[in-house]
Symmetry: C2
Subunit: 385 residues, 2 copies
């Protein structure tokens, strides 16, 4: 059910011919209220797609009634024609739904530079047909319609205290969020003010999607949107809602990690003993982005030297000669020197755990990443995105 699991939402996904495969490529999700609360976080990439520019304006008042998403074209760097396409998409949806265009968010994903007349015609046509197909059980079809190189749709639902949160996500490459990430739509029937929705969304994404760094490449089109219908009639206890929202985001982020392009290992880089949470994130991300570390894990090589060489490039607080590294439970490096033999480490399982103890403070963070494989190179050299 995903985004239609909470009360007050309808969704649809249709094929509009944007994907050459004929698979679904336009999704619409509508919040039937009574509330129209909305919040969103956006990519921090300065190169921003037209739908990002539109959605930032549309959400500035803390409300939205609908969101239109397309795969098969990013509508990024397509000039004023591309922006008009986004604007017309919002207007067309608004007209059919009987609301204002400013209450319609738009998201696009696919090849940068794609957004010509054919694209516009198909997006507008797809929007019409998706709205005609809106259904209270349409969440799964919406999830399928936003997929690009994803091999499986990503959905999640959590419920508590009479309210429900649902979500869909897409993203398998160009996966290194800044302030936001990928395309994600979260819905809830909890009764939230715009301020509460914004605060909850920022808190949840900061420690989930923002800690995912599959390939170090930040997208131009990332957007995570939360729509709250209030249809349950329940104002949630903030901590409880925050817990569930964070758990749901973490679930979706882990699904994204597991389906990352060409990956053969899902790697959790857990940094502990840091002087600050920021330091832990910086250290974890430096390892996650190190191609030599990533290829070593692909080769089942517990190469702790590459871990230390990566973290040595950061300005985090630590002494390189007082750092411990444990890979899949075997401490291969103690205080910057060899400890257990490498061959005790079993890297055959897909799930990989790298524990880095900086030994200077109480703070910690975990970055989710993947290995760098032949399949990643193949997928990203053979296909444009």
């Amino acid at each position: 059910m995903s985004v239609t699991a909470p009360q007050g939402f309808e969704a649809a996904g249709v094929s509009a011919g944007l994907k050459s495969t004929g698979k679904p490529d336009v999704a619409v999700i509508v919040n039937r209220g009574p509330r129209d609360t909305a919040a969103a976080v956006f990519t921090s990439n300065r190169a921003q797609a037209n739908p990002i520019m539109w959605s930032k304006q549309a959400i500035s008042d803390g409300s939205a009634r609908a969101i239109v998403l397309n795969s098969g074209g990013a509508n990024c760097f397509t000039g004023s024609f591309g922006f008009q396409t986004t604007h017309q998409t919002a207007e067309r949806a608004a007209e059919l739904l009987g609301i204002g265009a400013i209450d319609v968010l738009v998201c696009s994903t696919g090849l940068i530079g794609t957004g010509d007349e054919t694209f516009r015609t198909r997006v507008l046509d797809g929007t019409e047909r998706a709205i005609a197909a809106l259904a209270a059980d349409g969440g799964e079809r919406a999830a399928a319609a936003i997929m690009t190189t994803d091999t499986v749709p990503k959905t999640a639902v959590r419920a508590r205290d009479g309210w429900t949160i649902g979500g869909i996500a897409k993203g398998a490459g160009m996966l290194a969020p800044g302030l936001a990430t990928m395309l994600v739509v979260l819905t809830t029937d909890a009764d939230l003010t715009p301020e509460a929705a914004d605060a909850q969304l920022r808190a949840a994404t900061r420690t989930t999607f923002d800690r995912l760094d599959s390939d170090g490449a930040m997208s131009t089109n990332d957007q995570v949107t939360l729509l709250a219908s209030g249809a349950s009639g329940i104002v949630p206890e903030p901590d409880a809602f925050g817990e569930e929202l964070q758990a749901l985001c973490l679930d979706l982020a882990a699904q994204l990690m597991r389906d990352a392009e060409g990956a053969s290992h899902d790697i959790r880089i857990e940094v502990v003993g840091a002087a600050s949470e920021d330091d832990a994130v910086v250290v974890g991300r430096s390892v996650a982005r190190n191609n030599l570390f990533k290829t070593a894990i692909f080769g089942n090589d517990p190469n702790w030297g590459r871990v230390l060489a990566a973290i040595g490039t950061t300005d985090a607080e630590f002494d390189p000669y007082d750092v411990d590294v444990t890979i899949n439970g075997v401490r291969v490096c103690t205080q910057g020197g060899p400890d257990r033999p490498r061959d005790e480490v079993d890297l055959a399982p897909r799930d990989t755990h790298v524990l880095i103890d900086l030994r200077v403070g109480p703070d910690a963070a975990t970055i989710m990443t993947n290995d760098l494989t032949h399949a990643y190179v193949h997928e990203n050299s053979a296909y444009s995105s």
Copy 2:
């Protein structure tokens, strides 16, 4: 002739058993004077190998008589035992050469964490045998002895106004210098003071080795050393010497780029129209480190969207919607929008030129990098380094 082309130098390269292949792995280069001027720049990685720590101390007085280099082991993160190995290497060389240990620099390269008793015995033995084999034409043998995953030795010589500069370099992976890069030894018979040598070396490396970023992974063992014998008796005109030293460093840097692990394209990312040289470097490096751009070039795909997505992550001064991108002479993006069709770009040649015009100022810089290929993944997953 490489490092023995200038007057006053002897060199040797021998096999000491550090490489399992039996290939040469210990090199010694000696400056017979009359001058003993020396300067060096070192990796800015905070994770520094034992020979880096030693050489920084040894060169602090601006003089050195000899340099011992080994491949087959980085002697990094090998604790105080490893530091003693480096110290003993300098002492052994000094004793045999009749000089002070503080006038002997040491460089190591190979697998991080390698530096046990066997390593020590072989390095000391190799040092002895190399010193016994020192010859006025030993430069090529020294160049071969410092190779790791390099497929060819890298050497260069330039002469002018009665003085000569020679150089050797190694490095094919973990190739993203900070303040220094790889292992490089430069020799000259020009008469230089320590201050002049230091200034010339820093100026030359800043725009050559420092602009090479093959795989974004910074080494723990990088060192570029300049030894000046003064044997020509000529104090060079500073600008002329600077020009030749820069040209020689650029030549060696280009050789490193061409031999980078698994690469199929040598890519020059030329950034022009920048508000400052620093901005140009930041923008060029962001593209050089973007795995999606690198895989696209491997796939002969002139994917300018990935170029813009990469530079959008920087804080350099520019408007993403006023940037031009030209790939191998074809302007595929003008002012942040599509220009010439992608299929006009011929990416079959190994030499690839990406020109990014930020259109905000007069400054420029060129970053040298490579594509990301199956062979890179294979080499770095199948072999430890």
